[in-house]
Amino acid sequence: MHPGKTYPEIPEEKKKQLRHAVHLEVWTLVFLASVVVVMYLVMGSSQAMKSAWVEDLLSLLPASMFLLTAWYERKAPNDRFSFGYHRVGSLGFFLAACALLVMGAYLLYESAISLIRAEHPTIGTIEMFGERIWLGWLMMAALVYSCIPPVILGRLKKKPSQDISDKILHTDADMNAADWQTGVAGILGIAGISIGWGWADAAAAGIISFSVLKDGFTNVRIALSELLDGAPRELASDEIHPAAKAIRAELQKRHPGSEVRIR
């Protein structure tokens, strides 16, 4: 991090919390990357696996954006960017949110098509330790693994996100903490295939794509209110933060006759 000359230093306490958050996000990237690799290796022709894999891949974005922001946003302003790079995080977050939205819509379309065509996914076997093992079991194991690191990391990130009051980190923590639902939906899909219910796979894929779409919508809304200089919001919702309201009311009282706006 390169604190700019013209920015006031952040307090030591906050610096420590920010460093902690950065560490957690680096670990998030490491673990999620391992999940993405494991899932890719066993993906096969299951639509649910594919959707879950894409969701895991996309969940790398908010963590990357947080790190990019932490590194970039306190760069000193210069002649070309005279207000510095504060918005870089919001911009990156907005792009990541758009990616979620587009992929969510695409995955929903794909799962709807395979549901309508009533396609039965064909899943073969693999020879391991001298035994023929159905790849579906490996897929389930990969899905179980994909549930664990994000949930733990999501919980660990909750408190730091409140400490440094960071929207991106908070949303990322939320998405991670809810990631187990994708894994369970995927497992149900493969379990369905294993007992001959081909539709279960497409249905699970549909549920997963809905969760991607939902994340996309929430994130786009948050990113837009930051990019458009909206009033400071509460961490977990789109409501205006009570502190922002209080500051505005106080300033209004101290400077009667003037207009107070807050962003």
């Binding site: 996914p121 179980v144 081909g198």
Partner: protein
Amino acid sequence: MTGNGRGVIAVALIGLALAGCDVPADPEHTTEHVRGQALIVGVTTDDEPSDPDERAAIQRLAKRLDATVEYRRDEIHHQVKALEEGEIHLLAGHLPKTTPFAKEVGTTGPVSSMLLGDKRVKTVFALRKGENGFLMETEKAIGGAN
């Protein structure tokens, strides 16, 4: 109970439920239809596959399922249709792994190999899509299990 707790219990329950069934299952019951009856294998060029590895794998599959082998010869498009309709159980006879019919049918792991142009490619058997139980039986037979 937390959401995670519920998730873990749900997964455990599914595991228990599956442990009691014959899985993976065939949505169209191919294994059931073949067992103790005839294994109907579609071929396109000769009366039976020219490749000895393919013939041996088919014999092992038939033995596994206590069935007799019956070869049916027809043009490839008719065979793919017959496979989709469940009229034949397997399609054999130097079907390359890269077959353009892979969207319409399911394919097994490699059985043998063939020269296609100047490249040696692996050959596979094709079966009805989604018949995962039958696919498992077939791949066990390809792997050498009687």
